[in-house]
């Protein structure tokens, strides 16, 4: 009998195309996703070396980071550099013959939302993208990691990546979540527990009843932030929900191929007794709705807590906390629920899917946002937007006073005009609260879509449980 394997072991073993004496492997890549910011130099490198894309049929490109999300975007991009990047992608996609969803296509959206939506991401695959949040695709039981531009060029040219195997970590969320607690609260709480470097050198497999109970959208939210915990990738074993989600998608297999794929996918789980190098267990019942208070995603506390003091920490974190409280304009001891905000951003590859918009709309139904609040919803893709309109969610947002935008990364990283001004404070459903992330001097508090919607109504960080 062969030794029990983890899910990661199984996917890894199925993709090794070559092993060198020192254990360095060439890992075969099944899907390569490409966006406009991290790819121009890679395509340029190919051209200079007279190389082609080895597997254009496995390479999918979509512009997302730079694109305007205002309704008039068909008129073009004002910022010259942004425009050049998007035009470069248009040209590279055409020249190298890869699949492409241009800005004008209703299927355009954030790369990590488009991949699963179009059935490109499937269980058991290896997926890479020049973007750290590629971890998102792990929700399907696909080994998905972010890579740098040199590696993008390497995958374009060879359809492989030079890799050494990571260690296995199991993160188990047992039991059930309490009302008002979501996938975002799980993933933030895990990072709060393990720290932003806790996952360095590991691939995390999330499991346990609370994970099984999540929808595919929720699982994507959890895996999306694996990278914020330092992990190389996050994984969730595929199950009936996964198969149901994939079935019938444009690029998912059909007919006999579907049956063959399904039979294989059902073998993708960690065997009993498989070895994990590290195990973290959290009780689902213990997770509260959380927000971040600092400038690192590990700066997480339940909304019922107060702003901490530097002296609550040890080592290098003491200075880091002092610096981040100053940047965030917060005083130790202030209850988080008294922190006033002026901007709300609902969107991103963490929380820009239909379920996220439903959760936010549920809170906003029949309510108005606080006077003077700037609030926007940026759907993760054109198809999410269309579905939300069909379900009447768009009307709820508009009536509440939100802006209803076109798809893109938008204020998640503020490369397009959607930015915070210095000192502005934002309740955001994205994944990073770094200094300047949403605009120079801007202050970001990360939270779930329901919590962000609640904050829009009250004008303060708010415990969503008070509104449900």
């Amino acid at each position: 009998m062969t030794a029990p394997k983890t899910l990661y072991d199984k996917i890894w073993d199925a993709h090794v195309a070559h092993t060198s004496e020192d254990g360095t492997c060439l890992l075969y890549i099944d899907r390569h996703l490409v966006h406009e910011v991290t790819s121009p130099q890679a395509f340029e490198g190919l051209r200079m070396a007279n190389r082609t894309v080895r597997a254009p049929e496995k390479t999918i490109a979509v512009p997302d980071h730079n694109v305007p999300t205002t309704l008039d975007r068909a008129k073009g991009i004002d910022n010259e550099e942004s425009r050049i990047q998007v035009e470069s992608l248009d040209k590279n996609a055409k020249d190298f013959g890869i699949h492409y969803y241009p800005v004008s296509d209703v299927r355009q959206g954030i790369v990590h939302i488009v991949g699963p939506e179009q059935g490109w991401t499937l269980p058991g695959m290896t997926v890479v993208c020049g973007d750290s949040h590629t971890a998102t695709h792990g929700a399907f039981g696909a080994l998905a990691h972010g890579i740098g531009t040199s590696e993008v060029e390497h995958v374009l040219a060879t359809q492989t990546l030079i890799q050494k195997k990571s260690k296995n970590m199991k993160v188990e969320i047992t039991g059930q979540l309490r009302p008002g607690v979501t996938a975002k609260d799980i993933t933030l709480s895990v990072i709060g527990e393990t720290g932003t470097a806790g996952g360095t050198g590991y691939v995390i497999e999330y499991c346990g009843q609370a994970i099984r109970d999540l929808s595919m959208e929720g699982r994507m939210t959890v895996c999306n932030m694996a990278i914020e915990g330092g992990a190389r990738a996050g994984l969730i074993a595929p199950d009936e929900k996964t198969f149901e989600y994939c079935k019938g998608r444009a690029h998912a297999p059909k007919g006999a191929a579907w049956e063959a794929a399904l039979a294989y996918w059902k073998t993708l789980f960690s065997d009993d007794g498989a070895h994990f190098d590290k195990v973290v267990t959290i009780k689902g019942e213990d997770i509260a709705p959380v927000v971040t208070w600092g400038t690192s995603p590990e700066d997480v506390l339940p909304i019922t807590a107060s702003v901490p003091a530097p002296s609550d920490f040890d080592g290098g974190k003491v200075d880091a906390v002092a610096r981040s409280l100053e940047y965030m304009g917060l005083n130790s001891g202030t209850p988080l629920s008294e922190v006033e905000i002026d901007t709300v951003f609902i969107g991103s590859c963490t929380n820009g899917r239909i379920e996220d918009l439903r959760a936010a709309a549920e809170i906003l139904k029949g309510k108005k946002i606080k006077d003077g609040m700037r609030a926007m919803v940026v759907p993760g893709s054109g198809l999410v937007r269309a579905q939300a309109e069909e379900e009447g969610l768009a009307d709820i947002f508009l009536e509440a006073g939100f802006e209803w935008r076109l798809a893109g990364c938008s204020m998640c990283l503020a490369m397009n005009p959607d930015q915070l001004a210095p000192g502005e404070r934002c309740a955001a459903t994205s994944n990073r609260n770094f200094e300047g992330r949403q605009g120079r001097g801007g202050r970001t508090h990360l939270m779930s879509p329901a919590m962000a919607a609640a904050a829009a109504v009250t004008g303060k960080l708010t415990d969503v449980r008070e509104l449900i």
């Binding site: 121009p40 990691h145 740098g148 360095t200 579907w258 992330r437």
Partner: protein, 201 residues
Amino acid sequence: MDKFEKLSGVAAPMPLINIDTDMIIPKVFLKTIKRSGLGVNLFDEMRYDDDRAEIPDFVLNKAQYRNAEILVAGDNFGCGSSREHAPWAIKDFGIRCIISTSFADIFYNNCFKNGVLPIILPQEQVDALMKDAEKGSNARIEIDLADQTVTSSDGDVYSFEVDAFKKHCLLNGLDDIGLTMEKVGSIDNYEAQLSSERPWV
């Protein structure tokens, strides 16, 4: 790619943990379609004020560190976004080596692809080198990749670990893609097998 063999240079101290790639190179500079010219914007928001004047307190603006070739930094350097613009900016500024207790994974890999050597040392040794770096431009730290050693200005020698393949590529300035292309037969075989075993891929 540029080779990295030995380096003797001034080290700039940055005793801050979790220095993320947004700090190293803010996103406004990601709009380029080139790899070069990013050095002037390295640590841009920490380095310049709103009027684009240099902030005198920032370490790389101080006379003794303007030509620093080494950075000594706190835990988890390079976390956050996968942007290779971070090592491009570091290299373009003239820094060839970063010493810390830990690095984020993608950033760590990206460094090797660009002739920049990230060195992981235990906390006490990073603390000692941080103190050494604080002495300014007279204190030169020496790095020897072949021997895998860091030598402080006082002559203390610390050994570091580095993956043999990455070391080999960096010492010889080898291009990964060229090396992989030599194994194209294995990739062809793999693809042939793939089309029978998992044809839906």
